[in-house]
């Protein structure tokens, strides 16, 4: 089984069929094209996207519906072309920690994955319907 040495999970063995390809990487990480999905029961519904190439690169994400159940995903024509046909798409919001300790979710630019094809993109909205730093709560209190 292939594996990647990771900073966050140590040696991570994974089924290559679960590797997600990001054909254009994501903004800021355009060369990072391969990610492994990592989920743990204790941290559900968090989905970690660990780079298959860079041990120190891992994004912490949460499915958008777990943050805003009525979230409406919007993709432009280029997004659709990259993702291809899919009956369902998975949309994940990247979490980050603000300096004061609040965790926020990027609902403006979710990662969108076509699961049957294992292809992903970051879909940046052109509108301002959802914020890039939606507060989830204080992680430090």
């Amino acid at each position: 089984m292939p594996f990647v040495e990771t900073q966050q999970f140590g040696r991570l063995e994974y089924d290559p069929a679960t590797e997600i390809e990001f054909p254009q990487g994501i903004p800021g990480f355009e060369a990072e094209r391969r990610f492994v999905v990592v989920q743990t029961e204790s941290l559900a519904p968090v989905v970690f996207l660990q780079s298959a190439v860079s041990p120190g690169l891992c994004f912490t994400t949460v499915p958008v519906q777990d943050i805003l159940p009525a979230y409406e995903l919007e993709l432009n024509s280029e997004d659709h072309a990259l993702l291809g046909e899919a009956p369902t798409l998975v949309a994940l919001a990247i979490l980050s920690a603000a300096p004061g300790g609040t965790l926020t979710a990027n609902l403006l630019a979710p990662l969108v994955i076509n699961l049957p094809r294992n292809v992903g993109i970051q879909a940046v909205r052109c509108d301002s319907k959802y914020p890039h730093a939606y507060p989830l709560g204080d992680a430090c209190s």
Partner: protein, 84 residues
């Protein structure tokens, strides 16, 4: 900021080797055609901002902090992860 008015079909020149042509205007949208060397990156501004956000978000979030926030989320979480 330099402010210039143009109509569809008109062009702006930036420096020696960049051209921006207004191809079409419809409603509140403008369609632009950009001719520039491949060495010059041309992206929607939002992309650059998202790049900065992604870089900030690539730092590991401590698990205990994550747990505190997740207990609040689980109250309206869907029963099964879409990725399983």
């Amino acid at each position: 900021m330099l402010v210039i008015r143009r109509r569809a079909g008109e062009t702006l020149l930036i420096g020696d080797n960049i051209e921006v042509e207004i191809l079409e205007t419809s409603g509140s949208q403008v369609k632009l055609g950009i001719r520039a060397p491949k060495s010059i990156s041309v992206v929607r501004k939002e992309i650059q901002v998202v790049g900065e956000q992604n870089r900030a978000a690539s730092q590991e979030i401590p698990a205990d902090g994550l747990q505190k926030v997740l207990s609040a989320l689980r109250k309206h979480s869907s029963p099964a992860s879409p990725l399983r």
